[in-house]
Every structure is written in structure tokens, then in C-alpha cells.
Amino acid sequence: MVALPVSTDRDAAPRRRRSSSGVSGGPRIGSHALLIVLALYFVIPLWWLVVASTKSNSGLFTGSGGPLWFDDQFTFFENLSQLGSYQNGIYWRWLGNSFLYALTGGVGATVLSVLAGYGFAKYRFRGRSAFFALLLGAVMVPLTALVIPTFVLLSGIGLINTIWAVILPSLLSPFGVYLMRIYTQDAVADELIDAARVDGAGELRTFLQVALPLLKPAIVTVLLISIVATWNNFFLPLAVLRDPLLLPVTVGLNNWQALSNAGAGGEQVWNLITTGAFVSILPLVLSFLTLQRYWQGGLAVGSLK
């Protein structure tokens, strides 16, 4: 939407560059202006969150600096300590649960994807093509369509309202397998594997010592994707967890928000929601910023094919 009017501007801009032999600042100013508009659109909401997490409950409504600037009272640390005491510090428990689910689900899904991707890419076995075709179809099955039958299945085996109800279904990542297969095919040459076999290495050892090191970039990408998916998960835990102590931070904060919207004074914890939201996004945002090198190439692996 932002893009439409400005793109006509781009139309004119590069033409100017040609006439003035490429050194002129004109076109680059146009592109940079567009870029700044885009960046502002993506950043202002986050800036709002940073500012909001430093305000008290009343400061959020009547802050002296308006919604996009700091209030006179800087209560970030009070908010943090209130997060630690409100409902016996359940917020930190939620955050811990999110870590537990995201790490076990994400690491588990990645291990399964790496193994299966390698199996699909480097072995010919009966049923391989059929299974892989089925898997490609599964990439297109909307996972939320599975939540209700998964709930019924899990309650049938008594796992509802346990951590396994979130972790076990998170191990499924058809897209991860697809990525790993594509990547393995390119990155691990058949000759290399044959050479290892001739040298007497077993299949497992060939996989661990020859193939695995070559797969590192793809492994990091799949790990990031699976961790983000599990960390993001909302529908599944919302359906399968009842005990407040088991909730991940996403469902927990949503509950607080629902209560604050519906409830009276004492239940309105807006400052805890904003501070809680801010703290909860830090781990993933920071790991994306530090792991740039990996995901920037890796996220596109599947689409380049």
C-alpha cells in the first residue's frame, strides 16, 4: 500500500541516473527515502513496545510523552519485579515453558529432519518415492486442521494437559525434511560417501563424520525455523493445555490480555502485558540478529530449487 505511489517515483529515478552518469545522488535518494518509509513502518510498532514496557499502568494511558515517547516515570524495573510477583511469578514459569517447548520441539524436529533428509537424498529404498510424494503433499496440509483430531488422539492416550501434548506434535516438520533433502543432495557428493565406504567406514559413521559437517548451514536454518514455529505455536497449546502452570508465554499473555479487556481494575495489568511481551520477544530477536549469516542464505534454500 505504501509502495504504490512511491514506485512511480522509482520509475523516474533510475532514468535520471543514466543521464547524469551514475554519480548523481538523485535516484539513490529516492530509493533510500522509500527504504526509510518501509523501515519506519516495520519498526514503529516495536519502538512503541519498547517505550510502553517502561511505563506504569496509568502511564500507559496518561503518559506525559504520548504513546511514542517515554513517560516522566521510568518504571521498567518496577514492572519487571511486578512480573516476578504477580500470581506468584507465573510469567517466568510461562517463559520457561516456552523455552522448554521450543528447544525440545525444535531440536527434536531438526534431528528427525536431518536424518530423514539424508535417508531420502542418499539411499534408494523401496517406497522412497511414494513416501516423499506423500510428504510433499503434507507440506500443504494446514497444520491447524490437525489440532482438533490431535486433541482427540492425545486425550485418548491420556496425554492432554501434559507437556508431551505440545512437544510430541511439534516434532513433525515435513518442510524441514524437504529442505534437508534438497540441501543434502547438493552438499554431500555421492563420491564422498562411496569413498568413505571404501575406506571401511560404516553407514552411521559416514553420516556422522562425513555428511553431517557439510550440512551445518542447513541444520541451523531448519533449527531456527522449527524453533520459531514451536515458539510461535498458539492454537495447539491453547487446545491441549488447561493447567495455567503449563502454558507457554504466548497463551499466557493472551489470557492476561483477555482478562484485562474484560475485567475490572484489579485484573487490568496492561503494564505487565507490555513488559512481558517485550521481554518475551528478546530471545528470538537477539538470536536472529546474531545468527544472520546463517538464515539469510538458508531461508531461501527451498525456494531456489
Binding site: R17, R28, F61, R124, F125, P149, T150, W231
Partner: protein, 315 residues
């Protein structure tokens, strides 16, 4: 790359000799192939195949307190496809698909094209900033936008005041649709931008040189060369966005609390199925809706891939 593998497979006599000489090694290798795939296969069957089959079976049954569970064939499907609440929800997510997917695609493609043409530090920084929302859970993003839309907390009043305007009500019956489109665009465009940007980077820049010598300007290079060359990534992005849009759930559910009355519980098919299952315990009918939705999404994305097989190179 496919050509390489194919050439390998068809490589002359040598491999055949090895295979016939050691068919037991071959059989062992088959076994190893399955061993590597097996852990995933177990999860795949347990949490994908079994739930799908279960959903289908449940959708063919009806439970009542009086009669217990009985087999009712396609009755639930007849009920679903004549249920105005379900049909409205389907119509609504289709509308979302029509508005939201182009919006995301345009923002992502424009951002990627601009970033591709610049190599400054500002461009690098912007690329990161545009991507950051992807790292934020959808619920948190929706909660945040709920605050921003709110007339009590949000900056809208202040911003519109600058231009002497009254802030619109973002959470009204008519406007909430676009407010939701905005949340999704904000959250996902950066991810799609990264995919498109990576595809742009993989184009050999000599192509641009050639075009420039032939007298093409920047706009022509972008629309006639860059975009067609990355069409397979665009197809991929549209499929991802389509699958996501048709199962729209989290954002409207979160905004429901803020936008009093503007979002009914049956706003999208997924919300409707969730409500039927967990508020009314109608698991059979909810399974019908989930399964019908799954089939619609599957056919929809499959059809799209089929129609665009030329662009995506999946022939």
C-alpha cells in the same frame, strides 16, 4: 543439479557390476535408508496420517446424548456446506486471500528490489529491521497491534492530530478487516522479502549489464528481467501465504477481545471449528469443518502450483 544426479544414475556399466556382485550389500543399504527415515516416519504417521484419518472418521459420525455415537455418512458435510456461519467464514478468508496476499507480495517485492539495487549500510540495516517482525510470535504481534489500534493507548490519535484529522476507529465492524490485513502484512512481508531477495541475489549481474547496453532503464530491468527471473520464488511465497491465510486464526482471535462485537466467534472457519469443539463440545461437526477446510486448502494450493508450474519450474 537434477541433471547431475540423473547422469549418475544412468552411468555406464560400472555401477551395474557392483550391484550384481553384492546384492546383499544392496539390501543392507535399503535397510539403512529406512532406518534413517524411520524416526520421522513414526512421527509423520502418528501426528499427521492418524489425525487426518481420525478427523475423517469423526466427520462421518454424529454424537448425541440420547443415541451415543452413530454413523451418519456425509450428513455433517451437507450440514457444513449449508451452514451460513461456515460459508460466511470461508467467504471471508477468501476475501482476506484476495487482499492480503497481494499486499504482502507487493511490500516484499518492492523492499527486495530496492535492497537489491543498493549496497549501503542503511540498506543492510533496513533489511534487518524489515525482517525482525518474523521473529515475533504472532500472538505477541497481534496483542501489540491491539494496543496500537486502541483509542485509549494507541498513537493514532496523536499522529492523525498532526494533520488535523480525527483518528479512524480501527476496530469497527467495517475497518477491522483492514486492520487485520495490516497486522499480517507487517508480520510476514519481511520473511517473504528475504526469500525474494535471496533469489534476486542469485541472478548473474551480467544479465543486467546486457540489458543496460540494450538501453533498458532501472524500472524496465526490475519489471521485465528481475521479476520474471524470480517467479519460482514468488510462486513459493504465494503458496505459503495462501496456506497461512486460509487457516487464519490467531490474529482475529486476539483482536476479538479488543474489538468488542466486530469479530464474531465464527469469523474464520478455523475459529468456528475451535469454538464448536471447545465451547460446545461438538467434536464431530468441528472435525467436519476442519477436514473440509484442510481439503479446500490442499486443493487450492495444489491447483495454484499446477497452474503456475511453468513459472515455478515444477513441471
Amino acid at each position: 543439479m537434477t541433471t547431475i544426479t540423473r547422469a549418475d544414475a544412468a552411468a555406464p556399466p560400472q555401477p551395474r557390476r557392483i550391484r550384481s556382485a553384492s546384492s546383499s550389500a544392496d539390501r543392507r543399504r535399503q535397510w539403512w535408508g529406512w532406518a534413517f527415515v524411520a524416526p520421522f516416519a513414526i512421527v509423520f504417521v502418528t501426528f499427521l496420517i492418524v489425525p487426518l484419518v481420525l478427523a475423517f472418521i469423526m466427520s462421518l459420525q454424529t454424537s448425541t446424548l440420547a443415541a451415543g455415537t452413530t454413523f451418519t455418512g456425509l450428513d455433517n458435510y451437507v450440514k457444513a456446506f449449508t451452514d451460513p456461519l461456515f460459508l460466511e467464514g470461508v467467504g471471508r478468508v477468501l476475501m482476506f486471500a484476495v487482499v492480503m496476499i497481494p499486499a504482502q507480495l507487493i511490500v516484499a517485492a518492492v523492499a527486495a528490489l530496492v535492497l537489491d539495487s543498493l549496497a549501503t549500510r542503511l540498506a543492510k540495516l533496513s533489511r534487518l529491521l524489515i525482517f525482525v517482525p518474523y521473529a515475533i510470535p504472532i500472538v505477541i504481534g497481534a496483542i501489540m497491534w491491539g494496543f496500537l489500534y486502541s483509542p485509549r493507548f494507541g498513537p493514532a490519535a496523536t499522529l492523525f492530530d498532526l494533520f488535523g484529522l480525527d483518528a479512524p476507529n480501527f476496530l469497527g465492524q467495517d475497518t477491522v478487516f483492514f486492520s487485520l490485513v495490516n497486522i499480517v502484512t507487517w508480520q510476514w512481508s519481511g520473511y517473504y522479502m528475504v526469500i525474494i531477495y535471496a533469489a534476486l541475489r542469485s541472478i548473474d549481474s551480467q544479465v543486467y549489464e546486457a540489458a543496460r547496453i540494450d538501453g533498458a532503464n532501472g524500472w524496465q530491468i526490475a519489471t521485465r528481467i528481475k521479476l520474471p527471473m524470480i517467479s519460482s520464488s514468488m510462486v513459493m511465497v504465494v503458496v505459503f501465504a495462501l496456506i497461512g491465510t486460509l487457516q487464519f486464526f490467531t490474529e482475529p482471535l486476539v483482536l476479538r477481545g479488543v474489538a468488542q462485537g466486530a469479530i464474531p466467534v465464527s469469523y474464520t472457519p478455523n475459529m468456528y471449528a475451535f469454538t464448536l469443539a471447545f465451547s460446545y463440545s461438538q467434536f464431530n461437526y468441528a472435525s467436519t469443518i476442519a477436514f473440509a477446510l484442510g481439503v479446500v486448502v490442499f486443493i487450492g494450493s495444489y491447483l495454484f502450483l499446477f497452474l503456475t508450474r511453468k513459472q515455478s519450474g515444477l513441471k
